[in-house]
Amino acid sequence: MTNTENILAPGTIGRRRAAPLPEQPPQLWKSVTPKKAYDVIIVGGGGHGLATAYYLAKNHGLNNIAVIEKGWLAGGNTARNTTIIRSNYLWDESAAIYEHSLKLWETLEEDLGYEMFFSQRGVLTLAHSVSDVRSKRRNFFANALNGIDSEWLTPEEVKKLVPIINISPDVRYPVHGATYQPRGGIAKHDWVAWGYAKAASDLGVDIIQGTEVTGFDIRNNKVHGVQTSRGSIAADKVGLVAAGHSSILANLAGFSIPIQSRPLQALVSPLLEQVLNTVVMSGAVHVYVSQAHKGELVMGAGTDAFNSYAQRGGFHVIEHQLAAALELFPIFSRAQVLRTWGGIVDIAPDASPIIGLTPVENLFINTGWGTGGFKATPGSGWVMAYTMANGTPHALNQPFALERFLTGHLIDEHGAAGVAH
């Protein structure tokens, strides 16, 4: 029922040594000083911004593009995330865009000519109550109708796949079943950003770090460029791909967006022997865990309750997630927490992204990926590039326009996404 051929068989706790990391070239992208003018400027050098620039060059033949990043590449949410990749979302609109993204992941390393440890080890999503089972099974049937690989597993089948999991019925949140997406998995986040940066740079994209966009040149409701901490730069088109800072940039351009910025935390253990061969998620108890390439357990916690730009969250949120993790995986009680950190996620009222045009002509926006946009990096960049090149959305991101908050056609993914990844 499950695809475990390519990975360690369940139950193997071998003396597995981490494979050596591939050699990095001395320089991945050219360092440049900003030009006076570009055809397209992308604000934000996370995965989504870099992917947008790459597909603008590759799919649409543009070559006068700059990505402007206030800090360093991937220093926002991209290299702070727990890297869970899947496409088993509930609604047709979401399933379509996330599945498009997953298909791109499946050939991304060859496409970019860059290793990123994309590993389709499967994603398990646990159900802990009768209503949880009902909603997960609804999700499972919806996925089947959309042609997305999905399986329903009994607690015993869950245990077979993940031998270290506790499925006893007398715990606070017993495992009643799970959905499983075999094609889901993880990737190495910073390498994803570097892979896109390298491939974009090879196609002539200027990658400009340490430069903050502080304002816009807008005349007659049309954008003509940006102001930055290193002076003004002209552009025919500008794309805002700034995740947690999207509200600030939209306000600078004179409009408001329905986004709230919240801390989201994660943590890692030291390097351990391989005990977990698949990704385990549980929205009900806020546990998201996988074991990365080198052997560290990577776990995601919940969001903090309040708005923040501090890139850190409260320790009680970490304690809450660890309590649940220990009940599910008693063996983790002897592991230590090596490091915790936080990112600032951009949350929309319906937990779905906003991708498309803005009230300002030639100014485009891509935000609202919240707690779960890493998996969408290739697909998001792909549709954003299409939208910016053509001045009109692609069919895949049409439903995710800003206008949906006016028409009321929300795409409520709180069930599938929630605080989940």
Partner: protein, 101 residues
């Protein structure tokens, strides 16, 4: 963990409270609004980098809603005040230029 000054109960742990986002958003007459104004009322809340006047409810204490100034960069806590009373000024501190009074 934040320590939040409930105007009724005094300083308590953040885990005793629920968050209510931007304070002072009056409930409008839906019939008097255009679709755009109604969408704004439903979905748009302030999200500044700096001081924010926001709502909290002390669910594990007195159960009452109140407003609080808090800095979204430093997590500093400013004055708390009751709804429908005069709003105190935003604390004079960093992030001042970004704050929404």
């Amino acid at each position: 963990m934040l320590h939040i000054p409930c105007p009724h109960c005094g300083l308590r742990n953040e885990t005793e409270f629920h968050y209510g986002a931007e304070a002072g958003v009056a409930y409008p007459d839906p019939n008097a609004l255009t679709d755009i104004e109604w969408a704004k009322f439903l979905h748009i809340r302030a999200n500044p980098k700096g001081w924010l006047a926001e709502r909290w409810v002390h669910f594990a204490g007195c159960g009452r809603w109140f407003n609080l100034w808090r800095n979204t960069i430093t997590h500093e806590i400013g004055p708390a005040y009751l709804p429908f009373t005069q709003q105190p000024k935003a604390p004079d501190n960093i992030g001042k230029e970004d704050s929404k009074a």
